[in-house]
Amino acid sequence: MANVNLQVEHRTEPWGVLLTVRGSAGVTNLSELDRHILPIVASKPALVVLDASGLEFISSLGIGSFTTLHRGLKPSGQLRIAGANANVRAVFERTKLTTLLALFDSVEDALRG
């Protein structure tokens, strides 16, 4: 398992914001993720799709950052998770965050809802 750093980008789209996260959302590198979440929440988009297809690892802190994003978007906006690999998806399932956040196989599927 590669122990790569976290790369985060976000882009405003006509439908909302595409947040792309690659690498490891672990204890040593979350400030980069949090740096993107604050302006996204401030812009109050109706929809944020998290492209997690390049996310290799996530800890409880990474989960916490996405929970913060989810809470920040309420009540008018929502967060959808796209393309998470089996290990990352399992963390969302074990923490029961799948009851709050919808997971999709791809960004296209997430946009279709």
């Binding site: 122990n3 204890v27 409880s60 089996a86 290990n87 074990r94 923490t95 029961k96 709050l100």
Partner: protein, 144 residues
């Protein structure tokens, strides 16, 4: 072993500082040893997750008032299991008193999932009486 590949260490006792490079280094070494011993990707994910949660808790909570103190990590990787002990110098805590983070009232909180994830991903997780040392074991399934 002239000319051969250097073998990853299978055990070590490390005094870990609360610095990203220090944490990444021990993580990398344990995962390299696990890989050498044939632990699959999902197992390595589980081991890394539990290690990160334990180390984070040790620094964030155990060493809340001891920011410059190191945390001790004692790890052993063998063909059948991985054992990791993380010990801080703090006052300890009562793990059974940690609220269930999957309860609907706590689902949206950004914290409080570390202990639950350690227990979910490792075969065995035990704290000492004081609650400042956790011993975690990952047993490799036989069909791995």
């Amino acid at each position: 072993m002239a000319g051969g590949q250097p073998r990853a260490r299978s055990n070590a006792k490390v005094s870990l500082l609360n610095e990203p490079d220090s944490i990444r280094a021990v993580e990398r070494e344990i995962l390299e040893a696990a890989s050498t011993h044939g632990y699959p990707e999902a197992a390595q994910f589980a081991i890394r997750l539990a290690l990160e949660e334990a180390v984070f808790n040790a620094f964030r909570h155990g060493h809340k008032h001891l920011p410059d103190e190191p945390v001790l990590v004692d790890w052993t990787v063998s063909r059948g299991s991985v054992r990791i002990v993380v010990e801080d110098r703090g006052p300890g805590f009562t793990p059974d008193a940690v609220p269930d983070p999957t309860h609907e009232d706590r689902l949206e909180l950004p914290h409080g999932r570390g202990v639950m994830l350690m227990k979910a991903y490792m075969t065995q997780v035990e704290y000492n009486d004081r609650g400042n040392r956790v011993t975690m074991v990952y047993q490799k399934p036989q069909d791995d």
